[in-house]
């Protein structure tokens, strides 16, 4: 019998408890809400002809803030219903895992906003696959602290972003500016809504 043995057991217990504390709030409402916001924003962007890189960045930054605020409200309601704290250790780990990729995406957007020429359609097109890939990477990282499906969802964004990037690289000239909003709406809105509907029918009820 030694202290090493007891200390190792305590360490193992701590590690296993941390691994077990997965983020288990119901994801269907959050992903469906984000999907609807994204699709609606894609339509609004298309109709209002938001057609400069700066306006594109401003518009989609506002959409991201709206989606984030909506997700916050939904998750907070779930936490209140389950009588749990909102900023729980699993929530904190998920946020920490997502932060680096989202930060890089924010900086890339800010650079485009600050430096792109007013008519730089190529740079605007290029930011979409970059955002998709970074968002996918953020989801994949969060997937280590969430149910397994999130990693696959992250990969969908990464692969989608890669395909869009390849398409843009091999096309003689980029599509019209207004299609950037369609791409954003389809990628972020469409994928979220599809995944949200899938979760709605498969996620365990009363997940907390």
């Amino acid at each position: 019998m030694s202290a090493n043995w007891a200390a190792e057991n305590l360490h193992t217990i701590r590690t296993l408890m941390e691994r077990s504390a997965l983020y288990r709030r119901a994801l269907a409402p959050v992903t469906m809400l984000t999907g609807v916001v994204g699709l609606a924003a894609g339509g609004v962007g298309w109709m209002t002809q938001c057609d400069s890189p700066r306006r594109f960045i401003q518009f989609w930054f506002a959409v991201a803030c709206a989606a984030l605020a909506g997700a916050f409200v939904v998750v907070r309601r779930q936490a209140l219903r389950d009588k749990e704290s909102f900023w729980s250790p699993p929530t904190r780990r998920v946020a920490q895992a997502m932060l680096p990729s989202l930060y890089v995406g924010l900086i890339a957007g800010a650079l485009l906003w600050a430096r792109a020429d007013l008519e730089d359609i190529e740079a605007t097109w290029m930011i979409i696959p970059v955002w998709m890939a970074l968002y996918g990477a953020a989801l994949h990282a969060a997937g280590f602290f969430m149910p397994r499906g999130i990693k696959v969802f992250g990969w969908l964004f990464i692969i989608g972003g890669t395909l869009l990037l390849l398409g843009l690289a091999f096309s003689p000239e980029p599509p019209e500016f207004r299609f950037t909003h369609v791409a954003m709406g389809a990628a972020f809105g469409g994928l979220h809504l599809a995944y949200g509907i899938y979760l709605h029918f498969t996620e365990k009820k009363h997940a907390s």
Partner: protein, 102 residues
């Protein structure tokens, strides 16, 4: 060194596999049988045996239900299990503290 804490360790929990199951269940309201099996990389048979032992000791409750038309077995820690687990950890801490004393 006083051997008392070591002798008091709960033998049901003290086994490596069961300790791992108790640790996972301590941090989660409930876990599916498959989640336990995957997290611990154990065989179905191993998990079943350990769960049965823990269930017989009154430390773990097992519920069977259906999810998406598939059978779902979930395990959760009982109040007695939570107390036994807390006592076990407290004894481990005592052992560590004892050997730190000069």
């Amino acid at each position: 060194m006083n051997p008392e804490p070591f002798l008091q360790l709960d033998r049901v929990i003290h086994e490596k596999g069961r300790l791992a199951i108790m640790s996972l269940l301590a941090a989660s309201p409930e876990l599916a049988f498959t989640e336990l099996r995957d997290a611990l990389e154990m065989t179905d048979g191993n998990v079943t045996t350990h769960i049965r032992t823990l269930q017989e000791a009154g430390y773990v409750a097992v519920a069977k239900s259906y999810h998406n038309n598939r059978p779902l077995t979930t395990c959760s820690m009982t109040a007695a299990g939570r107390k036994a687990f807390a006592d076990y950890i407290s004894l481990l801490e005592q052992i560590v503290q004892q050997t730190k004393k000069p």
